[in-house]
Symmetry: D4
Subunit: 205 residues, 8 copies
């Protein structure tokens, strides 16, 4: 794989001890390290052990940067987020994309029920090289964005919502059936995956 | 019930013989008659027997009008339709609403992937007393409309789509989780029900 | 939007700090404020900070009223509730409808397994301008009510029940398939949405 | 098993040849024979071969009676049916119950959206030894009936409906979650099974 | 309703205060009282307040008996239970059936993977007036029992199991599709409902 | 792979032309050929072109045998089938297992609702090296068989049934949750896969 | 939008008359025209009317090319297809991508059960600018491909399979949960959408 | 059953007291004892009472060995595990298989996104008598393994994953639809069942 790519750990299903062992080994290699889905309790213990690390509580992302990250992307990745409740997933995407060497912009609280707030940002949308759209509930935002731009659009359904949101199924289905052509979709709450896909796209040929 | 309200028959699960018997009996009462979900084959036979009737093949609606329908609604019902594939359901709603004594307008092919076509109709949207929004696939249109108007919005998911559209489930879930407040929803492909609900709302106090 | 409409916050996915910041800002604007889905713990802290506020523990609704609410509706909104377990959702609907400037009546414990208790209230049903019907388990009550009245009927499925109730799916499907014409439906447990829809209907033309 | 019980064949998944062979063998034993779920085409061929047989096209039931059926039940079985579309399932139940030696009454078109039609039949409901309630769409009728009588109530969901009826799932879930205590349920469209269960109950001790 | 029938409360969704108020009112009427789905914590508080009451921790059933319960059933109700994990549901059924005035027998740990244990109890099965079969996982036991007896068989799926048991769905579907004719089914974990249905059947004509 | 193993084609999604081309090529290699899920119409055309082939209409299996099949298995494979409607799947398994070089026995119509028919075959069950159990509806048979023998048991759910059988889901879930330890499961209607698995097991070490 | 982009019609839900009207209008504009999901019967009629058009029966794609298509992509799009049954979807993707001005390569019959066939094509995989992976059944191929290359990978689940394939749900879920990072997914059978997304990516900056 | 087979207890749904009683009784019989799905808290108490026992915290397995376990299998059972998060299930399988008298090898962290790690172990795969493949997320590993070996392959889906992994459904469906012939499947997270099935296969004829 490419040089400078960080080591990335899925923190969720690992014990504190497992995480410490893995991170310590990676640290010795001098790699940059990103652990996603690390809960706050484990993060506190990890930050004690690795004081140079940083933890983003919203994104549940643990970062240990040992080498300067060079911006190696062809253009900007724009992350568009429907509501404030979707922010943790958007933040996970932003941190991952930056760790992978991309310039990232964020556009928040531009849901489809207040469409003019989104349309007011038309310029920013047109300039992005890749757009990640994060939305829960009915997951309609990627359709509107996909209809406004020619760039690649990656949709991330979130588990935000209740009742018939079914933990993100409503948003997932909405996005898979987007009437805007060529919108692609990742797993529910998978900000990491969307950023990784955006990074695959944004590599300088 | 109110005077002048037509007799309405759900044609789908009835044999031609059953339909003939029921319609003939209602005809003798002098009522207006609407039969929904009547397929083209049965309709041909019915129109032979009841030559004064009319059949709308898209809406699969059979109408036999024996009394002038008086427009008895408080305002206009606007039917907004995402794509041409959703037209049969929109037509069923329009015919039902008219048979129930309402003035109806239709607005077609204003899906969310081409949002400016919808926004260009802002005036028409603002003037409606009740709005029925018909959409398949991701069913996002009611959220945008609901964010633009203060009037009641009734969403009708359609079975248009394939794969993960699951015969209208994607659109149904999208509408139930609309981020626009106070959008209500009826069954998949239930143009009839949406019009009946709109009529309940549009009755002159 | 109309003047006097309260600011409404979806409390569920917001931290205490976020809620405090948002509410304080709205308070400075002099608005009435309603926050739904606020749990008891957060509510206690909020009521300390905003002593003039009130919290309804059943409805999980936090209200801060700074301007007199004028009853601006065309008629009464009646909220009908199948069982005592459905009361929290009914209460959320009632509080929301009142905050939006409507006169509200409530009718509780009139489930379909004891149909005569409902029929005894026939007068009250006939006088309502809009009826919200809240029911869990099999969600049958809106069909009976919809067959008794000509007014708009909004059905709210609740997550009350166990086993094959599937957290409200049974009630939701029941209501979407109501054999009473023109019943519309909102998301599971969405008392807020039902009230908002009723308010859209009940605005004075 | 009890004497005089008919041989019962599930016709659905059997070829015409298989059915002819099985029925001919049973005929030689002098048994009464009931074949359920026999489509009209196969039935025509069977009635040619077995001219003394009868076929009920609605119920899709083929009956060959060789011995007088004695009414051996303790009381009457009442079959209550929500709408005319549910009649095929109700008929299958009625024919099965009669073939098994029970007296059967039928009560049709008493759905919950017109509750007074059902209440007008209160006497008939009170006199039944066992009640089978057949309903599609939201499947609410058993709850109302179960609240009116002390006798056993067996609910049969039908596949009548469209969209979110999901081929009978909505009715099935409604019945499993009935708020009337002690309603039991059989498979979707299983009129046969409901009659067989009613017969188990109605045997003279 | 019949005399001597206890008042029955669904404890699950009620607060301790609500339960105290309801039970105290019923106590004043001299009724026997059964509250189901009462958790251990609430039960302790209730037993303090009503010292003559009894609580069965497995069944989560709270009973307050003020009148002698007369056995008023036509025959015995037999409760058959597949495994020890299904016992809480079986116990709820047993207690409910006894409170309703029936003689009850229990047969435990006779699952289908050790079929000879069940067959060894053939006599007991043949003598029962009504049989309730409680089983989780694949829910196969009612099919075997239904094939062995002529009496009514009521199947209760339990939420016992993991993975593709889906909280009782596997057992529920198994029971609805039983190849033994005339088995009826109640909701997942609904021991109460099964007993209530058995009681409807077991009433002396 | 092993010598003498036939070429196996999944016929379902292939056109007649594609099938002809593939089979002709394999014929030139001198292989034995099995095509599963070939419908009767295509089979007629294929049998015209390859007159030495045989077609089993129940199993929808097309066989072209060019080399003597040697029985190379360690023991007998027994195929147990719940009802006659499950026979097509059982036949597909039998034909596949024989084509793969195994001795096969079949045991039909031994469903769990008539458990004594199965128990009467205890000897045959004990002697089998591998047992394939084919059942639809509630899919309970593998649990009983798995409790009677120590040999490997492979369960095949079939799509036989209606309503809540959901095209084999009920049987599939039942089998995955079997209370008999160590029963393994293949896809719905996958007689082929069960036989292939049995053959993997039955190879002489 | 970009110049030279063809007009694309979703043929599925349009009548022959509607298609003729739309295509004739587009023809007058001189556009290239692609209609997807056009069945063979409609296609024959269309090709009669538009003799210069071509129809690909596998892909169900109707193309009318009036202007030379210039290859305007940055690199090659590689379409990898698991099995021959998935070919129609792969072909729809290939045709769409070519109509949109991309160079396309195809790699067929490289499913995961014969992994060496895929690995033998390593060079071709490494050279692609974007890879579309089409697979049905368990949909595992994108995970393997995603682990081998750094380029963007778009996964298309197909409805190929039976039983628990559930019309493409198994493949869809597999792809959404891919253990290869940054694989994105489109709707079941949506070769068109995958190609459109690949084209968004492959545009020359 | 065979001599020396351990007593196996499903710990999950049993109280500490129940477990103590059952284990003490089995201990008196001199049996080896395995209790699966015992949580750490209960295990501590059990290990105090039975000091010669051992508890594996990852596998949640409690073992009390009183007789030497003889290796009585025909060959080795190989347990292949996709990722470290799947280890608990793999460990449950390994412990169960060893307790049942089999030689077991383990191969960890060979997921399909890094296919070369698996291929490097080709020798070990070829030598196994039975292979158990444990994988979560998309569950693709058994297809690759099944394509590489002729031995029996038992697939165990795990509940590892989030979002559209649906607690193991994605992996379960993937495995049921494996394109490698003759892969069999057990319940989600059922390491015990896979080992029991492998043991059935591995018995010396
Ligand atoms: N209980 C509720 N259920 C659904 N939507 C709600 C609820 N409460 C508030 N809302 C909506 O959420 C919006 C506020 O969202 P937020 O900006 O995240 O606080 C309000 O304008 C309402 O549209
Ligand atoms: N309509 C039906 N639905 C469900 N089960 C039925 C039906 N008709 C017959 N059966 C059952 O199927 C058995 C006969 O099955 P078979 O031997 O396949 O004809 C009868 O004894 C009944 O138990
Ligand atoms: N096979 C397909 N699947 C999904 N969307 C399609 C397909 N073919 C065309 N479309 C989309 O449908 C739009 C045209 O829709 P319509 O105006 O209804 O013909 C195109 O611009 C595409 O966005
Ligand atoms: N982890 C497990 N998953 C599924 N079944 C198990 C498991 N552990 C034990 N069993 C089965 O449960 C039986 C014991 O159940 P019980 O008598 O309830 O302890 C054993 O004989 C096995 O058949
Ligand atoms: Mg959103
Ligand atoms: Mg649409
Ligand atoms: Mg209710
Ligand atoms: Mg009905
Ligand atoms: Mg069980
Ligand atoms: Mg069966
Ligand atoms: Mg495939
Ligand atoms: Mg995995």
């Amino acid at each position: 794989l490419r040089q400078g790519v960080p080591e990335i750990i899925l923190g969720e299903s690992k014990s504190l001890d497992q995480l410490k062992t893995i991170i310590a080994a990676m640290q010795r290699n001098g790699s940059n390290i990103l652990a996603t889905r690390v809960d706050a309790e484990k993060a506190t213990a990890l930050c004690n052990q690795f004081p140079e690390a940083e933890y983003n509580v919203d994104a549940r992302a643990f970062c240990l940067i040992q080498q300067k990250i060079e911006n190696s992307g062809a253009g900007k990745i724009l992350i568009v987020c429907a509501g404030t409740s979707d922010l943790p997933v958007a933040k996970e995407a932003a941190i991952t994309a930056r760790m992978l060497g991309n310039e990232v912009e964020e556009l928040v609280d531009v849901g489809v029920a207040g469409i003019h707030r989104l349309l007011a940002k038309s310029d920013q949308l047109q300039k992005a090289a890749v757009i990640i759209v994060v939305a829960g509930m009915e997951g309609a935002l990627p359709s509107v964005v996909g209809g406004l731009v020619a760039a690649p659009v990656i949709a991330v359904p979130t588990s935000v919502g209740y009742g018939a949101a079914f933990g993100g199924i409503a948003a997932l289905l909405g996005m898979l059936n987007s009437c805007a052509s060529g919108v692609t979709v990742v797993n529910i709450d998978n900000g990491f995956g969307a950023a990784f896909a955006a990074n695959r796209i944004n590599r300088k040929g």
